[in-house]
Every structure is written in C-alpha cells, then in structure tokens.
Subunit: 342 residues, 2 copies
C-alpha cells in the first residue's frame, strides 16, 4: 500500500524535480495529484511512464491525501498548509512561511531527524543554502562545537526557479548570437558573466532575507541558538548547484584529518579532498545528485580553532526537492534516506 | 619630454591593456617598444593612432629605456628584470617574481605610495585580488586597525590571461550552438556555468598559491605583518572583474556610517551603498574602469568588531595594467594618479 500524494506547484522548477525524485527514489505513491495555478491546469506531466494531468489548485486540497509537498510561494503555503494539515495530510513545505515557527519542525534528515517527532502536520523544508551549510558543518559541530562561521555563497540561478534558469539561458544564447538580450526580469542585473550580491530584499542591519535565513534556520536545525553566523549571499551564473566558502570557528581545535574523517563518515556528505588530483567539488559535478560535496578542508591560519571548507550541492535536489521527499520518507516510512538512497 | 617605454609581453591580456592605459592616461611616452615572444614578433599594434610593430624579446632590453612594464611570466621577470634595472631602466613587474622580496617595494599607489621611495630599480605590482582587498580595506585599517579578515573571492577568467578569456567564450558559444566544447585547457574543468575553487597550485596547509599571495602581499602593502588573513580563491564565469566577499575584524568597533565615510573619501574607491536602490557593485559595472567599487558595507553580527563588505574591480585594469602604469606615474612623474585619473 502506498500514499496519496499531491505536489502543490508541480510545474515549477522545484515541483517538477519532486515528481522526478518520487519516481527515482521509488517513494510508495498510490495516486499522484499535481496541482498548480489555473494557467498550468491541463498540462500533461509524466510519472512512472504514465501521463498525469495538472489540476488547478482550488479553495482547498482533497481530504484523502496522505502527503502534500508544497513547492510554491510563502503566500500559497500560508493560505493552504494549516487547513491541509488539519485534514490529516502531512504537509512538507518548501517556502519560508513556517520555517522559524517554533511549533513547526525544520528538518534536514541527515542532521536533525529527531526534531520531526513532535510535528503537528506541517514540516518545513529549509532554505537551500542553509541545507548545504548544515549538512557540511553538522559533523564538525558534533565533534568540536560550532562557535562562529562566516560564509560567502555562490548561488545558482535555479534558486529563482524556472524564470531564473530561462533568463541565464536566454542571455547566453543572445551573447553567442551577437544579439541584445531581453531586459533582465528574474534578476536586477544581467547574470551572464556577472555576479549579483543581493538575493531577496535587504533588511535588518543591511543583510538580505536570504542571509538572515541562513543564520536563523541554521541555528534552529543545529539546535544551537548561540551559533554566531554571518553570510554574504551572491548569485552566480551557474545553472543549478549552490556553493559555499565557509570559515568556521570551533570550540575546540579540530585537525584536518579528524575533520575529514567525520565528513567522510557523515550521511549525505561526499568528501572530495586530497589525495584527489583536484581536491574539491564543482557545481557541474554536484548537479543531479542528492549529495553535499565538501572539499578544500584546511586549517584556518587566521584563527587558532578555525577550519575552512568548500561545499557544493544541487540546489533543486538536495537544496529543495530531495530534502522534502526525504522528510516524507522519514515521517511516513520511518526511513531516514528512503530505499533508493545510498 | 617624455619617456622611452617598453612593454614586455605586449600581446598578452595585461600587456595590451597597458598599451591602452598609457594612451588613455596620456602617459608621457616618447617611444613605445612592444616586446613579446618570437612567435608574436612582427604583429602590428596601435598606439595613439599609429601602428607599432611587436619585436621579439632578445637576450636583453635596449639600454636607453626609461621604463619597462613587465606583463609576462615569473621566469621572464627573473631572467630580465635585474639586468634591465641595472641599465637604469625602471622596471614595474606584474609577476610574482619579486613581490615578497624585502628589497623590492610592492606598491598600490592609493595605499602605500611612500614605500616606492626606497626602490632600487624594480617595483612589483601586486596580485590582482590583493589589490582589490587592500584598496578596500586600507581606509578601514587606517581608522580602526585590521586584526583579521576572512575573504572569499570570485575571480574572472581574465586572471588566466587571453587563454582564460577565449576558453570561457568558446564554451559559451559551443553551449549556445548545441556543440561540444573543446577540452578545457586554461582551467582544469569547464568554467561556463561552473566554479573552480582552486587558482594556482595547492601548497602549504592546503592553501593555493593565489590564496597565500593575498595573505603575504596584503601584509606587506599594509605594512602590517601581524594581520591575520585567510582566503578561499574561486574562479567564476565572469570575463574581467574580480569580486571579494570580505569579513573584517578590527581592533576597535567601527560604525557603518563611519566606515562608509572613510571609503567614500578614499582614493581609488567608489562606494555603492544605500540609499542606492541596488546598493552594491557588480563585475559588469566595474569592467573597463580603474576603480575599486565597494558596497554591502554592514556590521558583522557574528563579531563585536566585525564589518562585512563586497568589493569589485576590473582585473586587467586596476588589478594589473592600470596599477602598473600608476606606479610608473608615481615614480617617474611624481604624480600619484596621473593626469587623466579622477
């Protein structure tokens, strides 16, 4: 027996990835209901070789669902999630609507699966860069206590969904064909051959929403409210993998060998380190995987208990869709990583 | 009366930029001698509307030169620079050959012009990312003392010269035309839609040569051997501007307003900060300028005396060619910024 599953926002970049991942991971689906805005209703998607038709999201979700994966806006989540959970459906929400709600668990299954136990119908899926950070830092935090981290991100255009992907692709084609690119709309500036050091709006203390998400969500997931974290989030012309340059300060000094051993043994992490000829992962290598790749692990010579590292993760998969499906596996199947995961 | 000027490596990415900058800044040139490897000899370049012919670099440089701008390898610099200086020619060398030599000044004219006074014929031009860092941090260091910085760089392909530029362009065209790109040769991986967190070879403590350059050269330029600096250098698919995400820790707390005031007043810096709608510079905006643009200046909430900032600079110009010409202006003309600079 499987589950009746809805995907809210099934035609978006994350939603369509969820469909693929449910299939790939052999998630026990009895019935799949792809929901989207009225203008996408009637579209045909494929699931396990069969066509499925996108339906318009109505005033409420069907009552007989076991699972609703929300890959939509904060507003949609706020409008539908509580009522859906009240019907007995497990909601896994990828928006920021509930992430910092003290009554809603915020889960990365490799890091804090125990926090899912107390859920009351909604579980929040963290911000993508936050997932990469906590998966990479948790093994070191467990060993030596994270005191502080400064992080610079290199975030793919997929973080802005299909419009972000299409915009970089269109600018690339225009450049190669010596044509003027259309006016940027997904981003405030051209992104081809460029960088944009502002993701989300700028708020408190001059930090963006994206930067504060990484601070507050990491503290919640690591159950470490005193962790001192500062972030600069930067959009880069990469399609779908986020990267992070992390400088971490630990409560006790941790050798590189010990750190690498902990990372190599950690769930969801692949260490790419010496003796590899190129001892680091790249965004292209991480694309289409569910792994957080970590490399360039080294002592930070500017701090007595510092470590520097480089982490890369597919933003659409582990940064969003796969993590959401893993949460569903954890709660509905009692499995931390699902049958198809290594 | 002007100067007799040679450019060694005149056909490279930096060398050809030097030619342009001598012209733009109206540097007093009486005779220009472009030198390059034998395979570039005979090439025609243009200077002030006139053709000039590239000559092959022989066993020594002509004796009657006033200035030799070296935009070539470390090996070429080691082979020719001392003998050229001994002939009475001022050598400004863009390679790493002499940068850490205690007898050779390492100069960024906006930061440490006084250090040029003691030169004995050779002045070293710093590493490009180092220039962006010291120009941005010097005004804050003067006010409040730099104790520590962690830096993540976003470095353009021009840092690998014309081969780097051509490789990104070729990969972009191939992608847009649905063709296979040629095997990467300037970089160890494809760079289009990718990032490569290794620039130069990996050495002591797991840091690359590029990362150590930023540490040691910054200390020398800032005349601050105790500055604690850690860097992750990353190649990004940007054509010609380097960017830096900097987290600085100062000896005394510095407010954002005070920091911005110092940056706005600093030579060679343009502050792009609130109330600008997009309060940050981007690499495309910095391209073809001689300015270090600084934005996103904000308190670092993870450190009591921390500041975060974002700096962007054209790598070929201020990161290499313009800084070299400015050094020549400083030493030969007694001018810190040359006639054409603002």
């Amino acid at each position: 027996m499987g589950f009746r599953v809805a995907i809210v926002g099934a035609t978006g970049a994350v939603g369509s990835e969820m469909l693929k991942i449910l299939e790939e991971r052999d998630f026990p689906v009895d019935r799949l209901l792809p929901l989207a805005s009225p203008r996408s209703a009637g579209k045909q998607l494929r699931f396990r070789g069969e066509p499925v038709t996108v339906e318009a999201l109505g005033s409420s979700l069907p009552k007989d669902l076991d699972l609703a994966l929300f890959a939509a806006s904060k507003d949609i989540a706020q409008q539908y999630a509580r009522a859906t959970a009240a019907q007995g459906t497990l909601v896994v929400d990828n928006s920021r609507a509930f992430r910092l709600d003290p009554d809603v668990p915020l889960i990365v299954p490799e890091v804090n699966p125990e926090a899912a136990a107390g859920h009351s119908g909604i579980i929040a899926n963290p911000n993508c860069s936050t997932i990469a950070f906590v998966v990479a830092i948790a093994p070191l935090h467990r060993l030596a206590g994270l005191e502080r981290a400064t992080i610079a991100t290199y975030q793919a255009v997929s973080g802005a969904g299909n419009p972000g992907l299409r915009e970089l692709e269109a600018q690339t084609r225009a450049w190669a064909h010596d044509q003027a690119a259309p006016e940027p709309s997904a981003f405030p500036h051209p992104i081809l051959f460029n960088l944009i050091p502002r993701i989300d709006t700028i708020g408190a203390l001059g930090y963006t929403g994206e930067e504060w998400k990484m601070v507050h969500e990491s503290r919640k997931i690591l159950n470490h409210p005193e962790a001192r974290i500062a972030v600069t989030c930067v959009r880069v012309p990469v399609l779908r993998s986020h990267s992070l340059a992390i400088f971490a300060e630990l409560a006790r000094p941790l050798g590189v060998a010990e750190a690498c051993q902990a990372l190599a043994a950690a769930d969801g992490v692949q260490l790419v380190q010496e003796p590899a000829a190129e001892p680091y992962p790249t965004p292209l290598q991480a694309a289409d995987t569910d792994t957080v790749y970590v490399g360039r692990v080294r002592r930070d010579p500017s701090h007595p208990r510092g470590l520097a590292l480089w982490a890369v993760m597919d933003q659409l998969r582990k940064g969003a869709a796969s993590n959401a499906v893993q949460i569903a596996e954890l709660v509905l199947c009692g499995s931390r990583h699902g049958p198809a995961s290594s």
